[in-house]
Every structure is written in structure tokens, then in C-alpha cells.
């Protein structure tokens, strides 16, 4: 049986299998069709119906289940929903267990949430450092702003204030008003 306890391990392994079998196009299709349009329909339904309050319900529940030690912070203001990950439970699992079968695991988040949020009328500003720290700002499509000044939305919980935000050798991926996993600048 395939279990949920080590889900992030075989999920990441599966990305690598898809890339070997069908290239990058197949990996993107998997994130969108299997995860966004099938597995996570409950997220789409909630956010489409309720907007930012729906995001609070969805991520509040799912992240508490995945990260009972609360390696994340959720904050929100009018027209912006923000998550700061100080210790991503998913990326952290892979790093602690030294698992790597796919070139950039972190892309999967934008891979399914990007198309899902686009369909719900939202765009994403986001940065991740590949070491388990990242931040997300989600705004209605067309709303001004993005990449808010450090601390202005999440206060002292802003991931960019962490001493390990940019450790030596870390590579930062940056998204601006994006909905596509390949729409990043390095």
C-alpha cells in the first residue's frame, strides 16, 4: 500500500518518473489535471465560492494537519492573503530524508495552485529559497500591489526576516503576478 505518512517522498519521486516518461509537459499536466482539477477540488470549490475567507478555511485546515508544529503563519488584509513558511513540512520532509528524484520540488506548489487560483480570479506573488522557507501573497487579479515591503503584511513573521532566508548557496525563485509554474525569475 502507498501511505500518506511519507506522501511527500513518493509524490516527489513521481514528478521525476513523469519527467523521464513524458518530459516537462507531462509534469505540468499532472500538477494541473490530477492535483488541481481532481485531488484538490475541495480547495477550488471553497476559494471560488468564498475568496479569501475560503483560503483561510482551506489552508488553515490543511497546513495544520501537515504541520502540527505550525511551521507557517497565515495573515491577511483587505485584498491580500499571505502565507509565510518558516519550516515547510513538505520540503522539510525531503531535506531531512535526503530525497531528490526531481530537479525542483518547490515548483509543484505553483504547478497546482497557480491554475486553481487563476480559475478563481487570483494572482500570486511568491518567493521560495528551496530550503523550506517561502512566502505567498495572493490578490484578486488586477489588484495593484505585490511583493509587499518586508513586514508590512506578516509583521515579524515575514519569512524574509529569517536569518536563514538566504543561506550561502541558496537560490531564490521569484514570481510576480503569476499563475504558471514556469513564470519565474531566478
Amino acid at each position: 500500500m502507498i501511505g500518506c505518512y511519507d506522501f511527500c517522498g513518493h509524490y516527489e519521486w513521481t514528478f521525476g518518473w513523469f519527467e523521464r516518461v513524458g518530459g516537462h509537459t507531462l509534469v505540468r499536466a499532472y500538477w494541473d489535471e490530477a492535483i488541481n482539477q481532481d485531488s484538490q477540488t475541495h480547495a477550488r470549490d471553497l476559494i471560488k465560492a468564498e475568496g479569501i475567507p475560503g483560503m483561510l478555511k482551506y489552508w488553515g485546515h490543511t497546513l495544520t494537519e501537515e504541520s502540527p508544529e505550525l511551521g507557517f503563519t497565515i495573515s491577511h488584509q483587505k485584498d491580500v492573503f499571505r502565507i509565510d513558511f518558516h519550516d515547510c513540512p513538505s520540503r522539510g520532509f525531503l531535506l531531512r530524508n535526503e530525497l531528490k528524484n526531481y530537479r525542483d520540488y518547490c515548483d509543484h506548489c505553483m504547478g497546482w495552485t497557480g491554475p486553481m487560483l487563476k480559475d478563481c480570479g487570483f494572482q500570486i506573488d511568491h518567493e521560495h529559497n528551496h530550503c523550506g522557507q517561502c512566502w505567498w501573497e495572493i490578490r484578486p487579479t488586477g489588484t495593484p500591489g505585490g511583493h509587499s515591503p518586508v513586514g508590512s503584511v506578516a509583521g515579524d513573521k515575514d519569512s524574509r526576516l529569517l536569518p536563514n532566508w538566504l543561506p550561502p548557496g541558496a537560490r531564490l525563485d521569484r514570481y510576480t503576478k503569476a499563475n504558471d509554474p514556469d513564470q519565474k525569475t531566478l
Binding site: 501511505g3 500518506c4 517522498g9 509524490y11 519521486w13 499536466a29 530525497l99
Partner: protein, 170 residues
């Protein structure tokens, strides 16, 4: 290293049990592969997963024999939310009596339809893993309750009849 819940699990997390909503993604992954590559492609995926991702488990089983198989499955099901499983070690085999499959239970409780072939994944995956460890695996039942048998290859088990594994119907 992660905080281990048991030395029998090769990959460990800081939390004692997994998040059951990930079962949705496992079912959706199967549906995606079956839709793109058909049944043979899905079996190839499970075989590759069994010999690739699970290679450290297979090595444990090869080195530790049936006691290692039993210890692994006890630790495995202890970390799966909602599992009701009895693991019994016999001299020539280990039997897992799955009384409540956590995957099927969670999918059904949330109105998610398992793919028809869902329960066969345990055979194709388990068989690949057992083969890599010099063991034989058989499965009967399904759709929420089943019996897995891991035996020494020398044990004279009848060939697997896939008709003995229930399909998942709405």
C-alpha cells in the same frame, strides 16, 4: 535526520501520523496515469516505484527476512490514520489482515470514488517490492478489507489470481 517513529520506516517525519487528505492525491495520481498510459503503464509506474522509491525497504526485507517485513508493516500502519490492521508472523510468511483500509475509508467518507483498479495497486506494488527482497507477495479481498501475504519465495503459494482482488465499484 527526522525524528523517527520507528526504526522500521526508512523515511520518517516529525509528526506521528500522516495527513489523510493526501489519499485524495494518491487516487488522483492513479486516475491520471490510467487515463494517459492505460493499465500497463500504471503497472509499470507501480513496479518502478516499488523497486525505486522503496529500495531501502526492500533492502531491509532482504537482510532481515520475514521479521523485518512484519516490523515494517506494523510501523507503517501505525502511521496511517484510521488503519485497522493485524500483522501476524508465521514461520514461512507474514500476513496482514486489513480490516479497515485507511485509504478506501477516507476516500469513501469524503465522496471520492476510488479508481476501479485501486486495490490492485497493493498487489503490483507489493509484488515488485517483495520480488526485490527475494520474497513472494499475494493479495485477496479488497474494497476496504483484504489480506496481504508475504512469503519466502520457496514457499509453495498458488499463483496470484487477479480476480481475487475486488474492483472498486460506485
Amino acid at each position: 535526520m527526522a525524528t523517527p517513529t520507528s526504526g522500521s520506516l526508512p523515511y520518517t517525519d516529525t509528526k506521528p501520523v500522516g495527513s489523510a487528505d493526501f489519499y485524495f492525491a494518491i487516487n488522483s495520481t492513479f486516475r491520471f496515469i490510467l487515463g494517459r498510459f492505460g493499465r500497463d503503464g500504471w503497472i509499470r509506474y507501480l513496479t518502478d516505484l516499488g523497486t525505486g522509491y522503496y529500495a531501502p525497504v526492500n533492502t531491509q526485507w532482504k537482510q532481515g527476512g520475514l521479521p523485518a517485513v512484519a516490523a515494517y508493516w506494523r510501523a507503517f500502519f501505525a502511521a496511517e490514520p484510521g488503519a485497522v490492521v493485524e500483522v501476524v508472523e508465521h514461520p514461512d510468511r507474514v500476513e496482514l489482515s486489513v480490516r479497515e483500509c485507511p485509504l478506501i475509508k477516507h476516500l469513501r467518507a469524503h465522496g471520492r470514488e476510488p479508481v476501479r483498479e485501486f486495490c490492485q495497486h497493493c498487489y503490483h506494488l507489493g509484488s515488485a517490492r517483495a520480488g526485490a527482497a527475494g520474497l513472494t507477495m499475494r493479495l485477496s479481498g479488497g474494497d476496504g478489507a483484504c489480506v496481504h501475504t508475504y512469503a519466502r519465495s520457496a514457499t509453495n503459494l498458488p499463483a496470484q489470481d487477479l480476480n481475487q482482488i475486488k474492483e472498486n465499484r460506485p
